[in-house]
């Protein structure tokens, strides 16, 4: 796979499109609250930056897509972890609790801890303990 690139673009973290970051962030923020056409007009009135409604739509959808991808990654943190071979001896402990949610609803939360059991010999004793 071969791919050229602009090192300066990476260093500066330049955004997609033809707006500098502040204008882009303002446009996307407005577009999340207003119709795209009105957001574009509002951007022109406040910053003097002229964009078409289609640009507002494209930029906002692109940012939304990146946020969604980030949330999905955070929601599945173990998916990026390499699988490890299980230890000979494992220990598991679980617990649960009820927590209040918004709107007066209660939901059960379950917590599980999984650990590897190691055998260690104390310095002054012959006793072997599992930790």
């Amino acid at each position: 796979m071969g791919a050229g690139f602009f090192p300066l673009d990476k260093e500066l973290e330049v955004p997609d499109g033809h707006l500098l970051p502040h204008a882009q962030q303002t446009l996307v923020s407005m577009s999340s609250e207003l119709p795209f056409g009105r957001a574009a007009k509002h951007l022109e009135r406040t910053l003097g930056v002229v964009v078409h409604a289609s640009t507002a739509r494209r930029q906002t959808l692109a940012v939304g897509q990146r946020i969604l991808e980030g949330e999905n990654t955070q929601a599945q943190p173990l998916s990026a972890c390499p699988e490890e071979n299980a230890s000979e001896r494992m220990a598991m402990s679980s617990d649960g609790s009820m927590v209040p949610l918004v709107g007066g609803v209660w939901a059960e939360v379950k917590v599980v801890a999984i650990g590897e059991v190691e055998r260690r010999r104390r310095k002054d004793e012959d006793q072997v303990v599992a930790t």
């Binding site: 690139f5 090192p7 300066l8 500066l12």
Partner: protein
Amino acid sequence: MQPEDLQARWNAQGEDIFAAVAQWRETHPHATLAEIEHAVDEQMHRLRARMIEQAAQASAAAESEASQELVCEQCGQPLQARGRARRRWQTHGGQQVEVERTYVTCPQCGGGFFPPG
């Protein structure tokens, strides 16, 4: 470019901007607050755009040297500079900011692409 070079350049550009506003005020002695605000903003937007442009381009000066030391993330081969291209952005007050950057490719992995911009 050294920081003091940038500062000297911005001092000179700032002087021009301040002079332009002062001159405008002389020719508009009865301007409203809104008109004064607009005139000042217009000049400040110009100065702001030039400062952003030159600060970003100051990285590009270092980049032209550093790019010779970059290696490909895929195969570890030194990357080759393949020319420079300009990119333009719009910012406050409808001002344009333009930066010239070096494009690099990996001779081992093959081709490259010019990202949109």
